[in-house]
Symmetry: D2
Subunit: 319 residues, 4 copies
C-alpha cells in the first residue's frame, strides 16, 4: 500500500524527524512512501514524489520542514479537493499522515468524508493548544529556544536596575508563557486565559523593589495582546526602565531537541501502524497521561484545549 506524508499550516521543529521516520518505517513495513511538497497547495498541484532514503538522509537535526508547508484557500473548494484526490489516486496512495494543527485537521476531515482516502493527523504546533493531547510536536524545542533567550536576559538583567518583558508565541493559549515563566523564575506572567490583576502584583512588587529587588522579568503570551500596555504600566507604576523582546519566529527554528525527535518517531510509527491496520481511519494520534492513543478528528477539532489547572495556579505563585 502506498502512503504519503504532508505538512500543513505553521511549521514546527520535529517535522523533519517525523518525515524521515515515515519514509524509513514505511519501507521497512514493505509499503511505498510518498512526500507531498508545499502542503495542501502541493496536493492540488500534484507536487507528490515517491520518496527515497536519500531524500530524507541527514535531516533529523534540521528545524522547519524539508517538504515545506502552506495554507490553501483553494482547498475549500470542492473542485480542488477533487483534483487533490485524483493526484493521490494516480500514485495509488491510500493513506496520509498529516503534520499540522486544528485547521489542517478540519480540512482533512472534510476531504476524507468526500473521498476514499484515510488519514491520521499528528498534532504539530509549538502553541501546544490542540484538544485531546498533552503534547504537540515542537513544544520542547520551542521551550528550550525561549529558555536560552531568557537565560541570556538573566545574564544582563542583574547588571542593571531594569524590567524586561519577553513576548512569546501562543495566540489562544498561554502554555509556552506559563512554562517559560516557571522555569525562568519570572515575576510576571500574562496569558489569554487569566485576567491579570495589576493592582495586587503592583503592591507585591513595589514592596519587593523597596526591599532590594533590582530587576523584574515579565513573560507575556502574544495572544494576551497587551505587551505595550504592560510596558507602560511597569515604567509608570513600578518606576523601572523597561525593555521589550519579541521572540517571534525564532521560537519555530532550531535543531529539534532529543525529546521532540523521540516524540516524532513515536507519533509517526503509531500513525503508520494505524493506517496499515484500519480501513477508514480519520484520527489524530494523541499523547495523554504518558500514553499514545487515537481520537476522532471530529472530537479534536470541536473542542478547545484547556490549560491544566496547575498551570493556571502557577501564575499566582511565581516567586
Amino acid at each position: 500500500m502506498a502512503l504519503a506524508i504532508m505538512c500543513s499550516g505553521g511549521d514546527a521543529p520535529g517535522m523533519n524527524p517525523a518525515i524521515k521516520k515515515f519514509v524509513d518505517y514505511s519501507y521497512k513495513k514493505g509499503e511505498e512512501a510518498y512526500l507531498v511538497y508545499d502542503g495542501l497547495e502541493g496536493l492540488i498541484d500534484n507536487k507528490i514524489k515517491k520518496a527515497t532514503h536519500q531524500d530524507v538522509a541527514g535531516i533529523v537535526h534540521i528545524g522547519g520542514t524539508i517538504i515545506r508547508s502552506s495554507r490553501s484557500k483553494r482547498f475549500f473548494e470542492h473542485e480542488y479537493r477533487l483534483k487533490a484526490f485524483n493526484n493521490l489516486k494516480s500514485h495509488g496512495i491510500k493513506g496520509m499522515v498529516v503534520l499540522g494543527g486544528d485547521g489542517s485537521f478540519r480540512a482533512m476531515e472534510k476531504f476524507s468524508s468526500e473521498f476514499d482516502i484515510n488519514f491520521v493527523g499528528i498534532p504539530s504546533t509549538i502553541d501546544n493548544d490542540i484538544y485531546g493531547t498533552d503534547y504537540c510536536l515542537g513544544v520542547d524545542t520551542a521551550l528550550n529556544v525561549i529558555r536560552d533567550a531568557l537565560d541570556k536576559i538573566r545574564d544582563t538583567a542583574s547588571s542593571f536596575n531594569r524590567a524586561f518583558i519577553v513576548e512569546v508565541m501562543g495566540r489562544d493559549c498561554g502554555y509556552l508563557a506559563v512554562v517559560s515563566a516557571m522555569i525562568s523564575g519570572a515575576e510576571i506572567c500574562i496569558i489569554p486565559e487569566v485576567e491579570f490583576n495589576t493592582q495586587e502584583v503592583e503592591k507585591k512588587l513595589l514592596k519587593e523593589i523597596e526591599e532590594g529587588r533590582n530587576y523584574i522579568l515579565a513573560i507575556i503570551s502574544e495572544g494576551s495582546k497587551n505587551t505595550s500596555q504592560v510596558h507602560a504600566w511597569i515604567q509608570d507604576k513600578l518606576g523601572l526602565e523597561t525593555r521589550v523582546s519579541i521572540l517571534g519566529h525564532i521560537q519555530r527554528g532550531g535543531n529539534p531537541t532529543v525529546y521532540d525527535r523521540l516524540m516524532a518517531f513515536d507519533f509517526t510509527i503509531k500513525a503508520v501502524d494505524y493506517l496499515l491496520s484500519h480501513n477508514d481511519s480519520n484520527k489524530v494520534v494523541v499523547f495523554k497521561n504518558g500514553e499514545f492513543g487515537f481520537m476522532e478528528i471530529e472530537e479534536v477539532v470541536s473542542n478547545k484545549y484547556q490549560l491544566p489547572q496547575h498551570y493556571l495556579d502557577a501564575i499566582n505563585f511565581l516567586d
Copy 2:
C-alpha cells in the same frame, strides 16, 4: 521543622533548580531551609548554612551544583556519621533531601538506620541507571549536549568518507548511548548490556558502503570498554578512516533544559512534602509510567536498573 538539602556523588544538571526550589518551597511551607556544602564531607565538617533566598537567586540556569558535592571515605566510619548527626542536630535539622545516586542512597540508608534523621533521595545521575525510576535528574540535559555534539559531527561527516566513533557516558548502563544512537541515526551502537555482533554488522555495512554509503557514525557507551577495539575493527574491516571523540564531562555541564528544570521542581516538591508529612522516611522519589511515587531505599539499592526491552531491540534496528 528544619530541613536540609545535600548533593552527593557525581553532579548532574538540574541540581541547581532543585536546590532553589527546595529553599523557596520550604520557606513557603513555613519551614527552615539549610544547605549542606561539599556533600558528605561537608556534613561531617559542619559546612551547613541556613539558606536565604539570596543564596539561591539566579541559579536555575547554571549547570553543576552551587553547593558542590563529594564522595567520602570517612562517612563509612561510625565516628564520622555520629559527628555528622550531631551537626544536623545542632541546627535542629530533622529531614534531608539528598540529590545523588545508588552509592549516596546506600550511605543515607545506613545513616538513617543508626540515627534519628529522615531523608528522601532524588535520583540524580546522567547515566539514568537507578532502579525503580524511569527518569533521573540530568538525563535530558546530557542527551541534548550529546545531540549537539552529534549534530556537529554530521555537518562534517558528509564532507568526507569517514567513520566517526563517539564515546558517551554510562559505566553500567547503555541508556545514553542507545537514545543518542536513535536520535542521531547512528549506524552502530555498543553498550554494556548487549554483545556486539561484529560479523553481522560488518556484512551489512560493507554492502551499504558498496552501494554508496560514505560515512558511519558509531556510538559507544564508556562501560562497554572497547572504543579502541572498535576503532581498529572499523579501519581494518570496513576500510574507513576513523576518528574518535570522547565526550567525557562535557555531558555533565550545560544549562539545565526545560524538562530537567520542571522535573527538578516536581521531584523536590514531592520530597519536601513527604518529609513534612512522614516521621520515618527513608525513601527515594521515583518517576514511573508518568507518575511520581516513593520507593523504599532498600529496594532501590538492592536491585539493578534494566534497560527496557524496546531500547535493547532498537540497537538491532538502527538504519
Copy 3:
C-alpha cells in the same frame, strides 16, 4: 599603587573577562586591585572592595558584569563627585579602568579634570558606535547571538511563504544591522545612517517574488525607528504575510565569545600598563587597523563614529 575597575552605563559581554584580567594582572604587576560595584552610584556610595583572586574565579564565561553597572544623576553634581573622590582616596586608589561608552567617558573626563585621579576607558558597548576605535567590547558576542537567531529564522522561513523582520540594537549606529544582514544574506537592511529607498527595493523584490522567491528577511536597526512602518509596507506592497522579532536585551547576554575574551584581555592589559606608566592619564584604549593605541578622552567624546563606507555600500548590494 592601588587601581580600581568599574563598569558604567549599559553592560556588554566581555566585561567579566576584563574584570578578571584586571585583578590577576594588577596583582602580577605588584599592585593592589579594587572593584567598584554598581558603577558611578557605587563610587558615590563607597561600594568599593579590595579584590581577591577568589572574587573573580570562574567568571570569564559569564555574560553581563559581576560588579554590575549603573547610570547616575547624582554624579552630575559636584558634591557627589567630591564624595566619590574621597572614597577612592580613602582606599589609596590612584587610577581607574572604566568599562563603558561615551556617556561614561564624559563623566570621567569631568571627574578627572577636578580631582587627582587618572583613568583609562575601555570602549564597551555592543552598538560599536564609539569614535576612534574599530572595535568595542561585546560586539562579536552580540553579533553571534543575532546570527543564532537569524539561523533559526532561516530554518522556518523556507517552510512557508513569508517575510521576517528582525529588529536589532543600535540607537544611533547601524553597525549590528549591516553586519547581521551581510552574514545572514538578508534582502533588506534599514539603518539610521541611510535613507531607505522603498520604491527601488519594491521593484526588485516584486520581480524576484514573481520569479519564485518565497521569503524575505529584513534586518532593521532599532534607531531607524520604523519597524512597524516597514511591516505595513511589506504586507501591503509585497503581499507577504510578515512576522516581527525584536531581539532586545538578548543581544547583551550570552557567554562571551573567544574574540571578546581575547579583546577583553588585551584592552585591559593596555589600560593597566598605561595607568602604571603615566601620571596624568585621561585616555581611551582604541583598536584601529589591527593595532591598539590611546586617544584623548576629549577627542573620543567630541566626535561621532562613522560607519565605514564599505558597510554603507553593502546595504545596496544585498543579494
Copy 4:
C-alpha cells in the same frame, strides 16, 4: 570567463559561505561559476557542474561543505591530472579557487605548472598552521566550539575535586590549544612546539592544591601525543581523579561564526578578483597584520608556520 571552486583535504567551517559568495560574486562580475564536487577525486571524475543561485541558497549557516571534499592518490599520477585538466577545459574553466591546506596547495602547484590553469588558494583549516597567513578559515568557529565545551566542563568542575584533560585538534601546531587555554583560564597547556616541564608545574600546582585549589583544567594538543601520559601524571603526582575529553571532529562542525562568514566573503572576493585580473596566478590569499595579500604558493608550502612568540610565552603564564 568560467571559474570553478573546489574543496580539498579536511573540511572547515566557513567553506559554505565561501562557496556561496564565489557563485554570487562571479555572476555579479559577469563570469560563469562552476562547482567541483568531491575535491580532487571529483575533478578527475568530472563531477563538475555549472552553479545556479539556487544551488547555494540557504547554505551560509551550515557547517562542513555542501560540495564535499576528498584526498586523492590518483591525482599524484600525471594521467589523472591530464584527465582533470581535460574536464576543466571541456567546461571552459580557466581559473579555480581552492579551499584547502598545504597538501592541497602542493597538488595545485604541480597541476598548474603542467597545464594552462590558474588557481588561487584560500587557507582553510581549523589547525591555523599555514605559513604566511595569520588566519585560516574555520579557526574562529572551531575555537568557539572548544570554548563551549570548556564552559560546560567549568560548570561541573567546581562541583567536585577533579582534574579535567581536554584534547583539542592540532597535529603540528598548538594554536587551538594555546588560545583555548588562555580564554578558559586553564592551568596546564601542552603543545607540540614546547617541551612540557612537569617538575616545575607539579611544584606550583601542588602548592595551590594545598592552598585550596579544587580542580585543574589541562588543554592538550593532539599533536603532542601524550594525553594518556599526562593523565597518569596528574593522577599519580597531583593526586586528583582525572577525566579525559577528546573533542575530535566536533571541532569541525557547527554553524560558521560571524567572523568566519565575513572572512569567507573577503577571502573569496580577493581570490576571484585576482583570477580575473591576472593571467598566470598561482597564489594563496593571506591575511597578515589585518590586511589581505597574496603569496606565491611555493613560498607558502615550503615554509612552516611558527606560533607567534606571545602565544609560546602565554603557556608559561597561565594562572
